[in-house]
Amino acid sequence: MSLAEIEAETESKRVGEETGGSLGREAWKLLRRDPVAIIGFALIAFFVLVALFAPLIAPYAPDAQPGAGTITPTNIPGPSAEHWFGLDELGRDEFSRVVYGARQSLLVGVVSLILGMSLGLLMGFLAGAFGGKVDTVVMRLVDVMLAIPGLLLAIAIAAMLGPSLLSVMIAIAAVNVPIFARLLRGQMLAQREADYVLAAQSLGVRRRSIMLGHVLPNSVSPVIVQGTLTLATAIIEAAALSFLGLGSADPGVPEWGRMLASTQRYLASAPHLAFFPGMAIVIAALGFTLLGERLREALDPKYRR
């Protein structure tokens, strides 16, 4: 599902509705037979389904405190039949909070990916298509952004914008802009030298058509891969930002990163509070990473036959 979203996202940027269809179909065929890709896909599907149907799955609201009054810093009940993942330090149902946390992670991941990718691809396309001065200006800008370590840049932006979900999204998007810009530009520069571009030129095809109809469709497959992998890092970065207290301003909103942060003090008495959100982050990120890696191989002709 998420994959479909990514593909739709990239598709909409392409010109020519039929372009890439066959390559995509062949990659799909390869992926369907690849156990690792299937595991990745299953993890993603699991993650997305949990996020979508959180209210149906979670037995309690994320801010309900079924265990209120019974909790002390030294007595935080672990997993039981009633509370699968136990209770947290405020007596809330940990399972429900982890389930609702998936929503936040998915939302932040997808929105920041779309934001970052759109701007990055636009910059990359301009640089790759026009070259020359445009390329120089855009790429120096990208260099500046890349010079700052990703997480540091995200923290700076999120801190500047104040703690909110939107600022986390913008911060993570900003980190991804230069990555996509550089990726697409590099691909386009390489493809511009391809024989089929020369052949199209020999037929008098206009520059714009060559760039949009020939160069761009041949340059997007690494972008799809990068998009999948970026979702994984976006989820981790979102967790990191909320761990650092830069997430949603409302402490009742369950975020995996913040759940990890607030559990630090109880690590000795209630290790399950660190384990479950941690595992959730791992599973979500792992799914996108596995699928992304395999997608890279499926789309790369070098790995074929």
Binding site: G16, E18, T19, G20, S22, L23, A194, D195, Y196, L198, A199, A200, Q201, S202, L203, G204, V205, R206, S209, G213, H214, P217, N218
Partner: protein, 351 residues
């Protein structure tokens, strides 16, 4: 072919120099002149690095803008293609002059269906759209001998064989019935049986539509089957030009003789070694003060170095050699005249 026939393409003193910072300039094409009459087939022959392809790219205006200097004139109709603004040149390319490249594997866009790529030319130059363009594209594919063209339109390049791809590329090049087609080693990347088919196809299409053809090749067998006039190039210059029949029967430049002699013969005695030209195309001297071929030439004399040999015209032959082969000295090679591999029509056109 009388002088009265208007020239279609007239290349005069074409030079292409690649310039690089901190490096010596490289002159890939050095004062090349040739002309093409409507409907004529002209061969440009030479080894790798002799400047054939660069000549073609210069005529097409497809050399990169930076790092390349192009001098001379390329007249097509009344225009000098070298000074034509970019958008007018783009209008001419594909409509009046088209080109077929060496490698059909990489000359088609791998992620775009064949049909879209063929249609693109029709949209661009013939203002055709939608169903009409699709039908015409299928017709074009059918004309180049692609079976079941309607279904093929939806196929991607990797679903076609090399020969089929080259056919598709030829159909694109001929989509607007250009008056001039430049084919740069169109069969080099194909296997031998397909080569013959593609050459036959080119010959047929070109004579049907009255398109003039500039055929670039290193294979004299290809030339023998197709060309009216042949220009032999070495190290960026034309060393010998003559009508095909004259050139094959009686090569005068030692390089032409060497090329003819190095073609394998079916009827040679078993075990007889090939007669290659010694050395490699990099063993050249600068044309400015010697014959570039001198280091490899068995016919070399003292006068070959120390001065640049001039291109001398006698009758319908031009020759750049101070010590040419004598008539009959090169022992015409039956392997190339007529060649067995390209199904030629030996005694056909009146020259």
């Amino acid at each position: 072919m009388t002088a009265a026939t208007a020239l279609l393409l007239d290349v005069r003193d074409l030079s292409v120099t690649f310039t690089r910072r901190d490096r010596r300039d490289v002159r890939a094409v050095d004062g090349v002149s040739f002309d093409v009459r409507p409907g004529e087939t002209v061969g440009l022959v030479g080894e790798s690095g002799s400047g054939k392809s660069v000549t073609a790219l210069a005529v097409m205006g497809l050399l990169p803008d930076r790092g390349v200097r192009v001098d001379g004139q390329v007249h097509f109709d009344d225009d000098d293609l070298l000074t034509l603004p970019g958008d007018r040149m783009r209008d001419i390319r594909g409509r009046d002059i088209a080109m077929v490249f060496q490698d059909p594997m990489s000359s088609l866009n791998p992620v775009v269906p064949i049909g879209v790529q063929v249609t693109e030319v029709l949209v661009r130059h013939r203002d055709m759209h939608g169903e009409a363009a699709r039908e015409e594209a299928a017709e074009l594919l059918r004309r180049v001998g692609i079976p079941d063209p309607v279904r093929r339109l939806k196929d991607y390049p990797h679903q076609l064989s090399g020969g089929m791809r080259q056919r598709a590329l030829i159909s694109m090049a001929l989509a607007c019935r250009p008056r001039l087609l430049i084919a740069d080693e169109p069969t080099t990347a194909l296997d031998v049986t397909i080569q013959a088919q593609i050459l036959e196809l080119l010959k047929e299409l070109v004579s049907d539509s009255g398109t003039a053809l500039v055929l670039i090749t290193h294979d004299l067998g290809v030339v023998a089957g197709l060309c009216d006039t042949v220009h032999v190039m070495y190290s960026g210059r034309v060393v010998e030009s003559a009508p095909r029949r004259v050139l094959f029967a009686d090569p005068r430049h030692p390089y032409t003789g060497g090329l003819l002699g190095s073609v394998p013969r079916l009827d040679s005695p078993r075990g007889e070694p090939l007669r290659p030209i010694p050395g490699s195309p990099t063993d050249t001297l600068p044309w400015a003060d010697a014959c570039a071929f001198a280091p490899r030439c068995a016919h070399r004399i003292g006068a070959c170095t120390g001065q640049a040999p001039a291109l001398e015209v006698t009758g319908d032959r031009s020759l750049r050699c101070v010590n040419p082969l004598a008539e009959g000295e090169a022992s015409p090679n039956p392997a190339v005249a007529p060649p067995a591999s390209v199904a030629p029509e030996p005694e056909e056109e009146p020259t």
